[in-house]
Each structure stands twice: as structure tokens, then as C-alpha cells.
Symmetry: D2
Subunit: 454 residues, 4 copies
């Protein structure tokens, strides 16, 4: 019996390949499904079942494609918001046999109404589950968010509480296999570790230390979460059945000057923020490759053409793949680096990076033509920020530009400088003139022992 974890970086998404005796199941497949097919080949197994712990809202499910190409059946829980057209329904107590392995279905609503968990048993060693696939109900060090049903927040938080008790009932010995690891937008308190057991969670997971049901609900409803607009697209695709990720054909590499022909395309610069700072194309958005999964869904329109500026072909390829996983198929071309374009006379801009000393000086000077912008989440802001900073979450900045004074210079900061650079590029693309980024941001501020406002 094997359990293989497949991690998709950026999304911090975890899917699983479970197999025994020639038969296999895949749990929560991503859109580019080659990895599952290769695992089946390598182990001489046939994928019989595709199991979804819930309708994912943060990535395009690979279930319909995987089923079509392998002949597997797809199983989904009851009570979806919208019917999942490509799946059959499975309920509490149903089970799947794969060689010596048995997967038993638990209905575990809360994160969504249709959430399932799957308990894994080894029939040769059958006393108690050996593991459990918990979807977005239970993470390592955290539990799922419950903000998707704004009209009944306390009810769904209560459902999650009960679901977690049901899962814990499988026993301390069961290994935990969640649908996300650290770095996901689906839970901020996760451990920087991708292995645990129910017993270890029972003793360590902060949310499982809250014994009282009402107290648990109070804690959940007081959380703040952001829902990027592309969640709507994902939900639609994952009801209708998203198209297969096409056989991977990279869009062509063009000279940088060709990227700027035609004003309608969205220009995205996936290089590091320092490279963007050094020189970039006017109007381009800075979304470094490792932040694409988190912020493309906030800042890009999936219906419009996308052009990439990457450091090299490899970074471009990874970026095209990441965008495809969240349903952005519109990348039409890319350019590698800024030097080539510059030699052809392309116009470029720079974005100044400033340090703690500079920010302090400006604050001290009480400059009337200057404003300081904090683009972190509201939770982070409230836990401590620099005095007089305006708060707008980076994802919501395009809608909240009116909160800034266009006649004043802006310095942007976040936790490190990365989201700040994204935000600065949004400001620039929207006509703000004097913008710079506080590199190091709140972390550097703290490292210098400076005071935070609460």
C-alpha cells in the first residue's frame, strides 16, 4: 500500500495518490494531471477513483480530465452549492476498496457544505484507521476557514467544530493528510511541516484546544479572510468541469519590445522584485513567480490576454504552468529579461527601493506631500503597524485607489517588501507618479527595534 503526496508549490496544494494491489485512487487532483498518470504507470496501477474532498475554490480541479483519460469514476460529497456535473455523489459510510486498502467516507461539513474526509484502513492491520484525508477541514496546526457562507457564519463554524470531533474520533494513531500545507491562503496558522497524526493535532493544534463549541464558533467568526475575485471563476469551473490543461505548449519568446505592442494585453513581470525595481516595462504589474498563485487571482482578468516578462525561459514556463492551474490560460507570449529590450530602445522605468533609515527620516520630517501605505492583511495591520500608515490590502488596492491622495508621493510597505512591490506596480500602472517601496518593510523595522502602533 502506498500513499504519495503531490505538492503544488505556490498554491501549497496537496493531492494524494493512494494505491494497493494494482488499483489506485487520486484525491483532489490538480489540473495538470501528468503526475498522477506517471505514478500509476510507475507502480503498474490503474486509477479507479477520483475523490474530491470538496469543490475547490482556489484551483481548477483535474478530476474531469483525469477521469476522461483513465476511465476512473469521480466522487463528490452531497450538498454542493451548485451541482457538480461531472461527479457522482458519495455519502457517509460509503467506502472504496483498493487491494488491501479501504477508504471510508466521512461527511465533514463546515469549510463547505459538501466537505468530505476519507479514512484509510489497511485490511491486513485493521484496528483503527492508519490515516485520514481531511481536505480543508483539518490542517496541520490549523483548521479550515468558514467564511464562504456569509449568511450563516455561526452555523457553518459549528458544523466544522462537529466535523473535527468526528475526525478526531478515528483515534490518535491516524496520520493526517490535509489538502493544503504551509503557505496556502486557506489557513494562516499552519505548521511548517507536512506530517502529523490526529493525536499530535489533538495535543498541539491551537484550534483543537478550544474545547467549548461556542468558544470555537466565536473564534472562527472573528477571523478575517480575503476572497480573491477568481474564486468565483474556480467555483464555476469546478461545478461545470474545467477543461483539460492543454498539452503544454509554451507561448513563444519575443523580444521585450514586442510585448508592448497593443495596449489591451495585461503585462505581468514575474521576476524578483529587485529585478523589477532595477528596470521594468511601463504599465507592467510586478507579480513575482512565487506569488502568482496567490495574487494573479486578485489582479488579473482571466478573460484577457496576458504577456509575461520573465528572467528566462524556465521562469516563464513555471509561471505559465502556475497560471494554468488557477484557470488563467491567456498567456500569449513572453520576453526574457530587460536587457534585450533595452538594446532595442524599449522604454523602461525603475522603482526605487528605500530603507528603514529613509522611512524614519521622512516620518520625522512630517512631510506633507508624502503618504505611507501598508498593504498587508487587516490582521497583520492590526497586530502592529507603522504610525500614520494608511491600510489597504494589496488584493483590494485596484478597487480602493480612491483612498490615496494622487498628489502625494507614496511609500509602500508590507511584511518584507514583496507585496509592497506588487502594490507599487499597481499604483504606477494606475498613474501614480512618485512611488517607492520600503525593502525589508515591517520586518526590517522590527529588526531595528522600532516602535509599532497597534
Amino acid at each position: 500500500m502506498i500513499v504519495e503526496k503531490i505538492k503544488t508549490d505556490g498554491l501549497a496544494h496537496l493531492s494524494y495518490f493512494v494505491g494497493s494491489g494494482g488499483d489506485a485512487a487520486v484525491i483532489d487532483p490538480r489540473r495538470d494531471i501528468d503526475v498522477y498518470v506517471r505514478l500509476a504507470d510507475a507502480h503498474g496501477m490503474r486509477i479507479r477513483h477520483v475523490l474530491e474532498t470538496h469543490r475547490n475554490e482556489d484551483l481548477v480541479s483535474g478530476a474531469p480530465t483525469l477521469a476522461r483519460e483513465t476511465g476512473a469514476r469521480i466522487w463528490h460529497g452531497p450538498n454542493p452549492v451548485a451541482p457538480v456535473s461531472y461527479a457522482e455523489t458519495v455519502r457517509e459510510g460509503d467506502s472504496f476498496d483498493l487491494g488491501d486498502a479501504r477508504l471510508e467516507v466521512l461527511e465533514t461539513p463546515g469549510h463547505t457544505d459538501d466537505s468530505l474526509s476519507f479514512a484509510l484502513f489497511d485490511r491486513d492491520f485493521g484496528e483503527g484507521a492508519v490515516g485520514v484525508f481531511t481536505g480543508d477541514a483539518l490542517f496541520i496546526g490549523d483548521v479550515g476557514r468558514t467564511d464562504f457562507y456569509p449568511d450563516r457564519p455561526r452555523e457553518v463554524a459549528g458544523l466544522l467544530h462537529d466535523s473535527l470531533r468526528k475526525i478526531l474520533g478515528l483515534g490518535d494513531q491516524a496520520l493526517v493528510y490535509p489538502a493544503h500545507g504551509a503557505g496556502s491562503v486557506c489557513g494562516s496558522g499552519m505548521a511548517d511541516r507536512e506530517f502529523s497524526s490526529l493525536g499530535h493535532e489533538r495535543r498541539n493544534n491551537p484550534m483543537l484546544q478550544i474545547a467549548d463549541r461556542e468558544a470555537f464558533i466565536d473564534a472562527k467568526v472573528s477571523e478575517n479572510h480575503y476572497q480573491p475575485p477568481y474564486f468565483r471563476l474556480m467555483e464555476r469551473l469546478n461545478s461545470e468541469g474545467g477543461s483539460a490543461m492543454q498539452r503544454f505548449i509554451m507561448p513563444p519568446r519575443l523580444p521585450a519590445d514586442a510585448l508592448t505592442d497593443g495596449a489591451e494585453a495585461q503585462l505581468v513581470d514575474v521576476r524578483s522584485i529587485t529585478a523589477f525595481a532595477g528596470a521594468h516595462l511601463p504599465g507592467s504589474l510586478a507579480i513575482p513567480d512565487d506569488m502568482l498563485a496567490a495574487f494573479a487571482g486578485w489582479l488579473l482578468d482571466p478573460e484577457r490576454e496576458i504577456r509575461l516578462l520573465a528572467e528566462d525561459g524556465r521562469q516563464a514556463e513555471e509561471s505559465v504552468r502556475t497560471l494554468g492551474r488557477i484557470g488563467f490560460d491567456g498567456v500569449s507570449c513572453y520576453a526574457a529579461g530587460m536587457v534585450g529590450g533595452a538594446t532595442q530602445g524599449v522604454v523602461f522605468r525603475t522603482l526605487p527601493m528605500v530603507d528603514t533609515e529613509t522611512v524614519r527620516r521622512r516620518l520625522g520630517d512630517d512631510m506633507p506631500n508624502w503618504q505611507l501605505l501598508d498593504v498587508r492583511s487587516i490582521d497583520e495591520f492590526e497586530a502592529g503597524h507603522i504610525d500614520d500608515a494608511i491600510h489597504v490590502y494589496v488584493g483590494q488596492l485596484p478597487e480602493e485607489l480612491g483612498r490615496l491622495d494622487r498628489d502625494r508621493a507614496v511609500t509602500v510597505y508590507c511584511g518584507s517588501g514583496k507585496r509592497a512591490a506588487i502594490a507599487a506596480s499597481v499604483l504606477r500602472a494606475n498613474g501614480f507618479g512618485e512611488v517607492d517601496v520600503y525593502l525589508g518593510s515591517i520586518a526590517a523595522w522590527k529588526a531595528d527595534g522600532l516602535r509599532l502602533a497597534a
Copy 2:
């Protein structure tokens, strides 16, 4: 400017990726086209043109698939036997520009009426072609066969003669890029080397030493060639446009005993001939993996289900791929090795291997109930064989079984024992009882210094 050679083993097929300055062409693509797409990605190039030197008869062309997935245009020569539905026509003197590279079209009929060659020029160093893609007109050490137009053999041989002179006219300096390398069924005299120039061929290629046109024609029409029945299928597919090779999904691995359920499937054993000899499934054909490209087209029916017995998953995978390249998509499952099946009680057979000493003894004993079968090509047979051997070419054995006496034991030989094992499995599958294989065959016979009949 780059020229990348892509070799497909088994078929000894050579295709080429040519690119410069962001644009690329592919010459004679095979059916599984990922390799070309990956090359384009790696070099940041876009495939603009797919060029076919002729309608291939020995493999499924990847041109339609590659064009569909990349947007490239497909070009084919005039005068095809049947219209090539998916291609545009290109003629003598037409040319393609790719960055600094220019490909110029030469009509070079003979092997087929629609054969083209493509001369490669570097515009920065433009004195004379730097290379030429010769398709099946000129190989390294040999020239193309001219037996595809049985009603006008001398005419097409003459056409080839003239085409070769036209190619040589490009100058000694041009590198030669043929469509096949050593090991192909398309030419038996090829060098065991995949690089040459027109000058080196002009001085060394035996067929180019024949100065006189009529003498060249005489030489060509006296050659013997075999045309496996699947050539008809290839020709049809390569006119209509073969389907894409599906996303590669391995058929499942089953226990060996499951392979023998259902009598209609073709059982193919792709292990080494010694493994087949040690134990094999009754009724299975021995076609070792490295001989599949050459003999599946003779012995298997592309319309019927195929089941494989392989040593392991990797060998099965390679075999499925090779079969797909020549249009055999019907592999439904495979088993790995014979031991597993045997433990489940599956019935097995062995095939004795005999040595030179045994064959000599039998010949000396003048055994009335024994016959010796030579399954090599007629050319090989006529160049020297063991006295009293019956000759039937291995590919034609299913049709020529009547030439053997079913009441007598058979020992089969070839050049080494490999084709003999294939033939022996054909005999066994057709009810011949006492069959064995002379391992080492004619090579071992010669190594012992024994006499050959001519």
C-alpha cells in the same frame, strides 16, 4: 542557428529540428511530438513549418498533430500517390526563412514521386549550402530503395539517379541529414555513423561510385526488398493524417494469468529471446522490444487487441510507445515476467535453444524427421546458408507455412537467433510441435569455420 537530430530507435528514424532567431521548422516529425515541443520551449522558438521529405511508409507521421498543436503549416512535395489531405504543396525553388537560416526546396523523386530534399543555407555565411536534408533519397553509405512502383522500376531508379546528382551539385561541403540511420529497413548498406557530408558520400558511398546511369539502374532493380503489410496502413494514415498519439496512458499491469483470458487477443512477448525460451505463455509471439518496429508490422493485426508480456513496466512502456509510432494502438494490458503467472498456476511452455554442435550432429545424422529453416532475407540466404536449409523470410512465414512439413521437427536459424526465435514462436502458435532455435545461428556457424552453401 541550430540543427537538432531526433533519433527514434527501433525504426532508426531520424527527424530534425532546425531553428534560428526564434523561428523553427521540424522535418519529418514522428507521431509522439513532445520532443519537438520541448525543443521549441527550451530554445524559446516557435515552430513555423513542418516539412515532409515524402509520405513515410514505415511510421505514422506526426505532422498533422504537430501543426494542430503549434499552429505551424505543413509542406509536402508534388505528385503524391494519394493526396495528402493535411498539407500544402511546395515545389523546386521554394524556400523557408528562419532567422539566419534558409531552407531551399529540391525535388528529388525516385524513392517516391513526391520526395523532396531541403538545402540549408546560413545567410551570414552564404557561399554554398551548409547542409542538406535528404529524406530517403541519400543515406550515409547507401541510397533509397526504389521498389515502391513495381510497374515502372527502371524509371524510378533513373529518377533517383538524377536526384542524387542534383543533391551532389550542392557541393562537397554540405553536411548530410538523412531520414534514416543504420538499422533501418529502408537501406541495408548504411554506415554505422550518423554524420557525413556530400563530399564524403561522393567519395565513399558505394552507390555514388556507379557513374553510369544505366549501371545504377541495373543495380537498383536487382535489389530485393520486403514490404511489410503495415506499410499499406502507414500510407493511408499518412495521406489522411493520422490521429494524435494520445496523452500517454499506460495500459494496466495485470497478473500473467489474466493475459490468457479471451482467445481473440494477440499475445506478444517482448522480452529477450532467451527469456522467451526459458518460459512463455502458450500461443504468444516472441517479438523482442528492439525488433518490434521491424516485425510488429509483419506479424500483428493493427485492428485487433494486443496484450504484452514484458520483463518489467519500463520495457512494457517502451514497447507501447514503439507500437504507437507505427500505428498499433491496441495494447490493452501487460504482465511483467513469467514468475508471477507461474505461481498462480498459469500454463507455460519452453523453447529449446540448440548450439552448433547439435545442428551439425543432426545434419550429419541425415535425420528424416527433421528440417532446417532459414528465415533471413533472400539476399542473406543467397550470400551463404547451411546446406539443405529451407528458406522462408520471417515476415512472410505466416503465409508460407505450407512450405514446411508439419510432421517433422524444425530447427530455425537466422543471423544470430533473434529472428529465428520470432519465427519459432510463429510456428508454435500455428501448431507446430517440435521446434527449436539455433542460438548463434549463421554467425556461430561461421565462427566455427564451417562451410556455407551459396
Copy 3:
């Protein structure tokens, strides 16, 4: 925090790479250490510690090499049979910090006196160990063997009992990371699964169901185990510090006929047993590649030259690697397949495979000149064998040849036919004339519903 499991097939050996925050430890490294170095590179970590759960007796430790190349320190438990010259001593309660991870030492003697376990804690989630590296004390589904101290069998079995209780004391939630998985010679009852927790083992592991200490001891001392002679070599090397595995230079491929020059070398045929049966070199031992780790140590002399007959270069390379891991560095050359040799006139032999029907018939005929040999372990033999079979364990066959009658034909069987083929090759190499192998062996016998003697 990461834990990466590195499996070495054949030996079924499991080693681990544990890291956090830039620092890493390796537990029980194998001799070819590249895999650990690559993991450290990939994660930007430095290997600080090499931890040995005990002095391994079944493979060459990579600890000295890994420490030399990375600057790591090596730690070993107290009470080794012989001083471990290259290691420092660590004791109960000592610990190692790696970023957020902490490894705490438990002395867990029984399998060996120097056996250690290492409990893994996450300092951010510190209630209870999250995992434990158990070496050869606790496996998944079994526990370690205790036959290495023949003068005090009950004492060490009792020590193991106490060590297991100490390990279980870490709590049900701890994941179990043993030093061997299914297929190892170090434990026959292991699960076909490489993940578990202490809780799941507590509830399912048969040996942990024996509550009473004396009953546990009785069970352990009644087990039968074999110790291949190369264990002595491993023990010496792992005390002195074995040499590095040489940077990998394959021995050259030679024609098969060159393998038989010079009588002193040990000829090993690593192809499948059916390929060996089909044709093999006289005097060669059949040890299929996947059985090399288990049987080379019984049948080969590590001081003498070894020559391989493999199916191809890849199989030869894997075999050279496997042999190196257990200290056999003497491979001087290899040949690929038997066909090439046969064409050069090399002498070959075949080994008949017989089926259930044949064995039954012979038994029924009560043949006086025939004997049936069972080469499985004594436990397997006693659990049920074919009537009248002689029992000699395959590993001990070279020393026990006298138990067979050289004047009678021999049919060899085991569980499937694989060990039988090894044994048959030993008999042949020692001058036994008429030898064949029962392919399918006891499993086929049972599949036919035939009777076993107990």
C-alpha cells in the same frame, strides 16, 4: 521541517534526511551518499549530524564518507560489540537541535546492544513527539530480530521487549520511521506499507499484542533466522569505517565470450531466471538483480573478481551499485545478453523449467533416480512442503551439497521458482548434471489445490 525517506530497493533499507532552518541530520545513511548531498543542496541545508541507530550488519554504512565530505559529526550508541572508530558516543537523553526540530536520544537495546531510537519533536508544536526513528527495534508490523547474541538469547529478547515499551511511551501520536521496509531480511512479518504511528502499531503489530514479557521472550527465541556470511564483513567495515563508494565508473562491457577467459572470476548472471533458463554461460551463478542484495552475501566471495552477465547496460549498472552497497567492489566487467556471445561461438547451457504436472507425475512414478529439493527457509518448509522433499536453505547450499545424491537428477523448488533457480545454478556450477527448476513452485502447487506435508 522536513523528513525525507530514502529507500534502497533490494535491501529494503530506509534512511532519513531530517532538516529545519538550514540544518539537517541523516539517519543511517547508505554507502552511496549522493542522494543526501543532493537533498541538502536542494533545500539549502547543511548536514550537521549523521546518526546511526546501530551498527548495521546488512549493508555498508555511508556515515564515514558522508561526514568526511560534509564536515558532519557522526553519533553512535554506547555498548557496540567492537568500537566504532569513526563515531562519537551519544546516550539516553542527549539531543540534537535542527532549526525547529529536536531529536532526542533513546537507548533501545535488544536487536543489538548499541541500538538507539531518536524521538522527533517540533518545538513550535511541542506536546509529544511527532515521530520516532526506530532503527531495527520496531518495524511496521514486526519487531527486530534478536539472534545476534547466541550466548544470551533470552536476555536480549527481554531487552527488546523493554525498549519497545519505552518507545511506545512516546505516545500514540508519534509517526514511526523504521530502518527497514517490507522485503528486508531483517523481519519477515512486515506490513506492505511504509507509514504508521505508534498508536497504529500498538493496536496492530502482532508482536506488540503480546503483553507478557516472558511470552514475548518465548516468541522471539523460537524464531529462526539466517545470517549470511557477509554479515561478518559488514560488521568489520562498519566498525572500522568502510571506504567511500567510488565515484561511479562502470566496469566495461565486453563480448560475452570474454567473460569466460580466466577461470578464477565469479560469473554472476543477473538476468531474470527465465532468461537464465533459456541460455546461460557454463559455471555462472543465477542471482537475478532484485535478489542480489539478499543472496550475493551468501554465495559470492567479496575478495574475488566478479563478472556480470546482464540483459543490458542499465541492469548491469544497477547491479554494480547494489553490490557496492553491501561491500562487493570486485566487479571487473559485464556482458549484455547471451545472443552476442552465441554468435561468437561461446558455449552455452540451458536450464529446464518444469511445471506442476511434471513434478506430480515424477512423484507418482516414484522415480528412484530423482530427488526433490526445497531451498526455502526452515520456517517456510515447516509450514508446509511437498512430500519427500529434502530441505536445504538456498544460502547454505554450497556447504550442504553432501546432503544430495550426485547420481540422481534434481528438481529444485522454493516459493515461486526464483530461489530455486539460484540453487539450481549452484548445483550446476558444482557439477550436478541433471537439474531442473519447478517454475511456480509451492505457490503453483497450492494454486492447483494439492496437498502439503507439514
Copy 4:
């Protein structure tokens, strides 16, 4: 017969693996020799000979290591400047047989006195050489430099002339296999193509169009070449026999702030120049990874510790490898990106990039406190530069700092901005205050149609 070309990017160094019938030779191996060993394994060949076309001055030869690990013999030409301690001498007319291949030695002095070429013959097709390995005598589109013997420039240029005639005497049909491709510091006129024949060179190579010996000599002695100081180190190592490249252990990744502890180490920033511009560590030299091979030898001291700032672990690894190939083994650690360091409060600097418009304006303003620096080669400068620019070659800048006025701001340019950024980092590290880089440089200047001074 196979010829495999192994390209080492950065150095644009080409080495070759030639083999036939089980035996192989390697021509001009680089220091990290795994690639040759893997080729030998893959083809089942044994490396018998290591051939050096001359004592390389631009990289560390792998010949001694390769010979030590494979048992091959090393061959070098007569007349080395210093005895090559690890090689045997080979002379005109000597030859090496490898299966069907024969390599014949030609003495072809000029680039160096000990330069050899090796003509490749196929014994089965023996009329004329099929290829020739030309070392640094003949490149594709250029010929070797002849500036290494400053006391006899005309003599060695004449020797090269004669050597080229000798090589051309092999015939138009011979393929050309040089020791460098486009991008090498060893020849600036090379084609952007790595395949050619003697015939194509005879007709296209500009230097081969100069029929007259004296005219050829005049042309050669009027060339300008730079010799980076590390050439001396290479020459010494390649006489004495450089050590093996260590089995690859990456130096550890450290936080960026740790890189600046200890003033003695050389800080090298291998990220793109725009990333360097955006933020970098004070005192660090910008040498982007693809320019390390060309400029590390000018700007770094091989005896001193080196610390890298890279974008990620992969870029760091490639950089460590490239440095190792030219003898710089002193990399002690690396950091990934600038953001991490900034969050820890590390001090950083930015380097402004300016555009054509800015440079024009400054020139027009006739600014007294500003100077324009051209760091290209003297040939490039003389072919056209911006009016009033000071010329100092980037490699010689550390020695020529006195030519600049420290009280004036500096704008640096080159062909594109890359060498300018290197130079700017040198100025900064040497205390120049106001420095910026003209991104796009002379190419952008021309793209705007602006005037050049000659």
C-alpha cells in the same frame, strides 16, 4: 561510430567524445568529468585515450582526473611552453584506433606551439577524413588568436597560416569540430552555428579568404586581444595537472546578512544586472552568472574566499560549477535574493539605470561634474563610440581607476549594459559615489539613430 559534442556554456567550450566498437577517446575534457563517464557507461564503452589539442589557457583541463578515474592515457603535442607533467607526447602521423574509427595526429601550431588537430577516419568508408578536431586553430567563421607569444607575433601568425592550409588539405568533405563555439573569448568572429565542414569554411570563413600568407599575418598581428590574469593560473594548472573538481558539495545557504560578516571575502552578486540595480549588498561585485566564465578571471582572486548572492539555489549551484571549471574553488557560502536580508535589517544599495534620453540630455548640458565611461574592448570602441566617452576595458578597470575623476559622477556604458553594470559595481566597490548605468547602451543609442564618433 559516434561523435558527441559536449558544450560548456559560459566558456563556450566544446569537448568531444568519440567512440566505436567499445573504445572511446575524449578530446579536451573539462574539469567536471562526469559527463564523459556517463557517456561511456551509456554506450558500454571504455575511455582509452584523452587527447588535448593544446594546453588550454581559459579553463582547467579535466585530463588528469579523467585519466586517473578511467585508466585512460593522456596525449599532448610537442613543444609546450612548460612540460605537461601528466601527459605523453604525440606527433604528426601518430594515430589512435577505436573500433572502426581512426584519429590521425596533425601538428598545427600557431595559436600555441603545441597545438594539434586530429583527423577522423572511418575505416569502412576510408576515402578522406570524415571530420577533424581543430582545437583553437580553426573555428566556425574565425581562426585562433595568435597573441600568446608577444616576442614573435609574425612568426606564430605565419605558423597558423600554414597549419590552416594543412588542415584544409584534408578535403572539403571533412566536418569541423573546434574547441570553442560562439560566445568564447577565444574568437570574436565566430558563427552562431556549431556545425560546418572544411569546404564550407574554405568558402565562407573570412580569414580563409586571405590567400596571401603575408596579408594573413598582417591581419592577425593587427588584432587586439585581452588576456585575463587568471590565464596564468590556468596555464600553471594545466602543466602541473589540476586537481579533480570536488565531488559536488554545495556551500551552505546563509541569510544575506551573514554574507557581510568578515571583510576579507569577495562578495559576488550573480543575479541579473537589473536585480543588482534594484538592491544589492554594499561592496559586492556584479558578475551575472552567464558572464562569470568571462569576467571572474579578471576581477576575482582565486586564492581568496568568495561569497555569492544568487537569485536562488539553482543559480548559486550553476555559478559554483562555472567558477570551479576555471579554477576558482573558494566559494564558501551563498545567500538567495535580497529580500530575506533586507527583512533582517541588512544595509543595501541601489544602482540607477538610465536611458538614452537621459544620456543625451547630460551630453547636451555639457555637465562639468560628469563623465561618460565606455568599458567595451578597444576594437568595439574604435568601431564607434559616444562622443567624449573615456575608454577603459572592463577587465582592466581595477588597474586603471586613476583614469577617472573621482569627484565627478560617472555613467557607464558598453554594448548592452551588462558589462557596464559589472564596471559600475567595480567603481562602487572602490569608493566612487555617484555611478549609474546606461541600460541598452550603444545598441540603444544606435536604435535611436544617434551619431557615433569613430
